[in-house]
Amino acid sequence: MSMPDTSSHDSQVPDMTEPLAAADKLRKQSVQRGVAATVVPPIFFGVLLVGVWYLVSYGILEERQRFLLEPPHAVLTEGFLNGANLAEILGGLWSSTKVALIGLSVSIVLGMSLAVAMSQTKLIERAVFPYAVTLQAIPILAIVPLIQFWFGTGQFSRVIVCVIISLFPIIVNTLFGLQSAERGHHDLFTLHHASRWTRLTKLTFPAATPAIFAGLRISAGLSVIGAIVGDFFFGRGEVGIGQLLQKYANRLLGEQLLAAIVMSSALGVGVFLFFGWLQNRAIGKWYDGGGGAPT
């Protein structure tokens, strides 16, 4: 086949690319401005917070009360620069990270499989969905003693806590995503006699990826919480960050306590950012929506 009307197209193609290039330049400039606008305010606010912290430590608390809020530099030297303390916190953090990662992986596999099954068969959706919602509604602290009762206080029990707490967002977001493919796209696939499997792999699953990533980011944060809550509650077995928090609080070790809190927060933020990055890598090329549904 050759082109019917070459001249008009040839003159047209550059017309279409030039505005694109110009828009790129504009976008770059506005991105630079955007970075400054997003970085400066939080830094400013952070400095302000540290200032208030010092004010409370030295201005408001008397010396004998100071263990309640040790000043930032004390947290830094005791919690982060003291080798033995740092090793202890990092060890606990690593233990909890393992639990969180295993729990999250189980949630991803289980949650996505359930959602796919639910999307394929209305009956399964009707049967399973109420329990998924119930799972979400269970106050985690109410069920932890039962888990301990049945499975003991080992890593396995902690993983279960993690799964219970992080499964729901994966199921709901995947299911929502699988149902989000447009009507017109479905018509197109129907028109060309696509099988169920083809429709799933070439249409509904790719269409679901933005929602799946939104679910992943929520669940990743929850799995960290689950790992810490389990460890904190069981209070024995392999030492995770939860047990350390409890120990530091009981022994009035304010510096280590704050350092451990900072580290576990960093872990939560870290996994959240990691999945944001992964999302951008995986679907950023074609998806121009935001970071997905708000929590």
Binding site: M1, D5, M16, K202, P206
Partner: protein, 276 residues
């Protein structure tokens, strides 16, 4: 039922075909075999009681480009969905080979996670063509709609007109004998629309498919078609039929021909009547 008069085919061949309500069964038999797409007494009533179409009969042969104009909501999209099998009609019969039907929707319906090339290859993929064939067919189709150089772009970076071109290219890969268009250029600007009309015409002149086109634009209808049907407000019925006498290949200047203006005026008047 409409009475068809004499009209010219693009290759200069002239066909006479008359159908009347009282035509002998054998005539109708012949017609059924001949036409690539035929509707006979099509009625459509949705489950909620909405009567969308009533007794619509006409056919489109290869080398014919038939356009339907009618007020919005009169059942035009419904008719195409029935033709393609997406909807089941509640009365009458449709005859068409649905194996490789071409259907261009009002929206481009591109898959956003696929590049232009991958989008154009989609239908060949669904029909199980092997990778080499599908790459070749897609490359040809992309060339044909003037999108060479954009193969690796994602839909989000394309304009409305370009998306529509991708959608056209995607349909072209199947080399469909029957080509349905549901207001494909309704969402693009006037200049792009004129150009896309010329390209559609080129495709038709080249491929000689049976074209069934739906539009709101009278000049688009007259410019493209061998025949224009005017449809009434709901329930949709054919209220008038115009044979468009201009020979193919048609030039863009045709739009400024006095005869073109006269026919457009007639169609417009008829459409005006169809609204009430």
């Amino acid at each position: 039922m409409s009475l068809w008069s004499t009209f010219s085919l693009p290759n200069g061949l002239t066909t006479v075909r008359a159908v009347t309500k009282f035509g002998r069964p054998s005539d109708e038999e012949d017609l059924r075999v001949a036409a690539a797409l035929s509707f006979r007494d099509i009625s459509m009533t949705f489950p909620d009681g909405t009567e969308a179409l009533r007794d619509v009969s006409f056919s489109v042969d290869r080398g014919e480009f038939v356009t339907i104009v009618g007020p919005s909501g009169c059942g035009k999209s419904t008719l195409l969905k029935i033709a393609s099998g997406l909807l089941a009609n509640t009365g009458g019969t449709v005859e068409v080979d649905r194996e490789r039907i071409g259907y261009v929707f009002q929206d481009a319906t591109l898959l956003p996670w696929r590049t232009v090339q991958q989008n154009v290859e989609l239908l060949c993929e669904l029909h199980g063509f092997d990778p080499a064939d599908r790459r070749r067919l897609a490359t040809d189709a992309i060339e044909l709609v003037g999108l060479r150089g954009f193969e690796n772009h994602y839909p989000k970076s394309l304009s409305g007109g370009m998306k529509m071109r991708v959608s056209l290219a995607r349909t072209l890969t199947l080399e469909p004998p029957v080509f349905l268009f549901d207001e494909p250029f309704g969402a693009v600007d006037e200049i792009t629309r004129a150009r896309l009309n010329e390209e559609t015409l080129n495709l038709f002149e080249r491929e000689q498919f049976a074209g069934l086109f739906i539009t709101h634009s009278i000049s688009e209808a007259v410019f493209l078609s061998t025949r224009v049907h005017v449809m009434s407000a709901r329930p949709g019925r054919l209220v008038a039929t115009y044979e468009i006498p201009f020979e193919y290949p048609r030039k863009p200047e045709l739009r400024f021909d006095p005869e073109f203006a006269r026919i457009s005026g007639e169609v417009a008047a008829s459409l005006e009547g169809a609204h009430t």
